[in-house]
């Protein structure tokens, strides 16, 4: 957790009343996590590193390795390359299904990130692994879901399992997936006329 130095930098920009509770407990846990940051700079886990190396070897500058953690590899791809990268992940690396597709809205970057969590059932060496493939779509200030520039290529022809997940991202963030056979609403009411509700500018009443 926060070592002493970290706690101080945290409290500085914060408002004054927040400084008090943060400063108190910082003294106590300092002893325990002190060992952690020292152990952290160990080299990256080898197996996970080999997976990310294979992707980088194939695509070079087109992809960016976001993180390599225990059992998790994060790959970032541009929206025009994501389809090819996903195809390589399936055919070249033996991943076979998508567990989850989450959208993350970044209004300050004018982008919406779509994160695919890809796993494998058929390859037992990959049972623990999740490959986190993320890509970003352009974000519009006044969204017209399906009719504006917020579009990404669908991965449904590669991973059949994304079908409902991509439908959910479409209704919740307004990201239209080109090539998806069934871009209808799933959870929201059919007559929903407001902003896509999981965007940051859709505010909850009273908050």
């Amino acid at each position: 957790m926060s070592s002493d130095t970290e706690a101080k930098t945290e409290t500085k920009p914060a408002a004054k009343p927040a400084a008090k509770p943060a400063a108190k407990p910082a003294a106590k846990p300092a002893a325990k996590p002190a060992a952690k940051p020292a152990a952290k700079p160990v080299e990256l886990p080898a197996f996970e590193k080999s997976i990310s190396d294979k992707v980088v070897e194939k695509f070079g500058d087109k992809v960016e390795v976001e993180f390599v953690k225990e059992n998790r590899v994060g790959i970032k791809a541009k929206r025009e390359d994501v389809h090819d990268v996903a195809e390589f992940i399936r055919d070249g690396l033996n991943y076979d299904h998508v567990e989850s597709v989450s959208g993350v809205d970044y209004p300050q970057d004018k982008e919406i990130e779509v994160v695919y969590h890809i796993g494998s059932y058929s390859d037992s060496s990959l049972a623990k692994q999740i490959l986190v493939l993320s890509t970003r779509a352009q974000r519009e200030e006044n969204p017209l879901p399906g009719k504006d520039a917020t579009k990404l290529p669908s991965l449904r022809d590669i991973f059949y399992s994304v079908e409902f997940h991509e439908r959910e991202v479409f209704e919740m963030f307004g990201v239209y997936f080109n090539g998806h056979p069934d871009n209808r609403r799933l959870l929201l009411p059919e007559d929903w006329a407001d902003l896509p509700p999981l965007r940051k500018d859709f505010a909850i009443k009273g908050r």
Binding site: M1, S2, E6, E10, A18, P21, A22, K24, P25, A26, K28, P29, K32, P33, K36, N71, R72, G74, D96, H97, V98, E99, S100, S102, V104, D105, V115, H117, Y121, S122, A127, K128, I130, V132, F159, Y160, S161, E163, F164, H165, E168, R184, R185, L186, L187, L188, P189, E190, D191, P197, L198, F202, I204, R207
Partner: protein, 378 residues
């Protein structure tokens, strides 16, 4: 014109023989969702699941609450399985904050999570029984799950919605004498569920109704990305407690139940076998658990992550893998929280399985997916 109308109401040109039925959302055979089926005589030719009637915006709510106040509302998707729903969230927050959990707390969590798995599965089994018109199978599980609910009440003070897991451990230590009571109740519970075989699982009427209906092959189970009992009933040996052990599952002997048939019968039997496995795990955990010690690391108020960071943690819940993707931007609230739930992932198999089935088999196929509408909608 037709494109503007909602699904199920749109006027479509179809064969004269084909009739469209809306099953649900109030129908007892559908749970809180609507299944639009098109039938030709007695056979289903197409099916379109329409969930969302119990969508509560858990993910949006989570962005407005801090890491601690998120606990009670995040377990609402499945109140019977509340410990397992919270589990990936709690593990994720611990990784974000870099907290090490005391050993005893890990064992308490495993026990709670296994008890909850049984409580959920008994509820599911009760409804599966009544869906098939087997009212004994409704009464027995509904009564026997009280044994375990009593145990959870002793631990957490609440029958359901325990809010017992917190980042850093569990809320309270086990009550005195808990080990003995737990062992006694769990042993009796196991004896009871074994009796279900005679009345339900070996019942020729049940077998004739569920055998070879809604068959999901191994390849399709993988391709559709199904999880949990649906996947294991189709012959894929994948249980996260074995494959990616979290907390102390590594030290326990976990056996995963796999069946090859992939039909409704196999899908309904795997959760029942899982309950017996849960009883085994609870007994092992009670034995190996440190007899005393702390169960919670106190956090500082309003804990926050270290800058832009994201984690994806998953556990094996009563309905399969349950993942939690948390994106933190260094504030006290999560920037984005996504629950990837087993029910939602298994729903994709429903249109696939129902095609070509008889309409009368719909309830058994549908509920054998171990589907919980509220969880799927979040």
């Amino acid at each position: 014109m037709t494109a503007e109308l909602p699904p199920g109401l749109a006027i479509q040109k179809v064969d004269e023989r084909i009739m469209t039925l809306n099953v649900g959302p109030q129908h007892p055979g559908s749970g809180h969702m609507r299944i639009i089926v098109q039938i030709d005589g007695d056979y289903i030719v197409a099916c379109d699941p329409d969930p969302g009637y119990v969508h509560r915006g858990e993910e949006k709510m989570a962005e407005y609450r801090n890491y601690i106040t998120n606990i009670p509302h995040l377990e609402r998707p499945v109140i019977h399985d509340s410990c397992n729903v919270l589990y990936p969230y709690v593990l994720g927050v611990e990784e974000l904050l870099g907290i090490e959990v005391p050993e005893r707390a890990k064992y308490v969590r495993v026990i709670c999570s296994e008890l909850n798995r049984c409580i959920y599965t008994m509820y599911w089994l009760a409804i599966y029984g009544i869906f098939l018109g087997h009212s004994t199978m409704f009464m027995w599980p509904a009564g026997d799950r009280e044994l375990l609910i009593d145990l959870m009440e002793k631990i957490s003070g609440a029958r359901v919605t325990h809010a017992h897991f917190v980042p850093g451990g569990v809320r309270n230590d086990l009550p005195p004498n808990f080990e003995e009571v737990c062992l006694r109740q769990v042993n009796y519970f196991e004896k009871r569920i074994k009796e279900y075989a005679a009345v339900f699982y070996d019942n020729p009427i049940l077998i004739s109704r569920t055998r070879d209906t809604g068959v999901l092959s191994r390849e399709d189970a993988i391709r559709l990305g199904t999880t949990g009992s649906v996947l294991r009933a189709s012959g894929v040996d994948y249980d996260l407690r074995q494959k990616e052990p979290y907390d102390v599952y590594e030290e326990l002997d976990v056996h995963s139940n796999v069946m090859k048939e992939g039909d409704s019968y196999a899908r309904s039997k795997v959760p029942w076998l899982d309950m017996m496995e849960s009883c085994n795990i609870i007994r092992q955990a009670l034995q190996k658990m440190p007899k005393s010690g702390s169960v919670r690391v106190k956090l500082k108020p309003n804990p926050k992550g270290k800058g832009l960071d994201s984690v994806y943690k998953r556990v094996e819940s009563g309905r399969g893998s349950l993942g939690c993707h948390i994106v933190s931007d260094g504030k006290v609230e999560p920037y984005r929280l996504k629950l990837s739930v087993g029910s939602f992932r298994n729903l994709i198999a429903l249109p696939y399985l129902l095609k070509g089935e008889k309409l009368g088999n719909m309830p058994s196929v549908y509920w054998s997916l171990n589907y919980w509408p509220v969880e799927a909608d979040r």
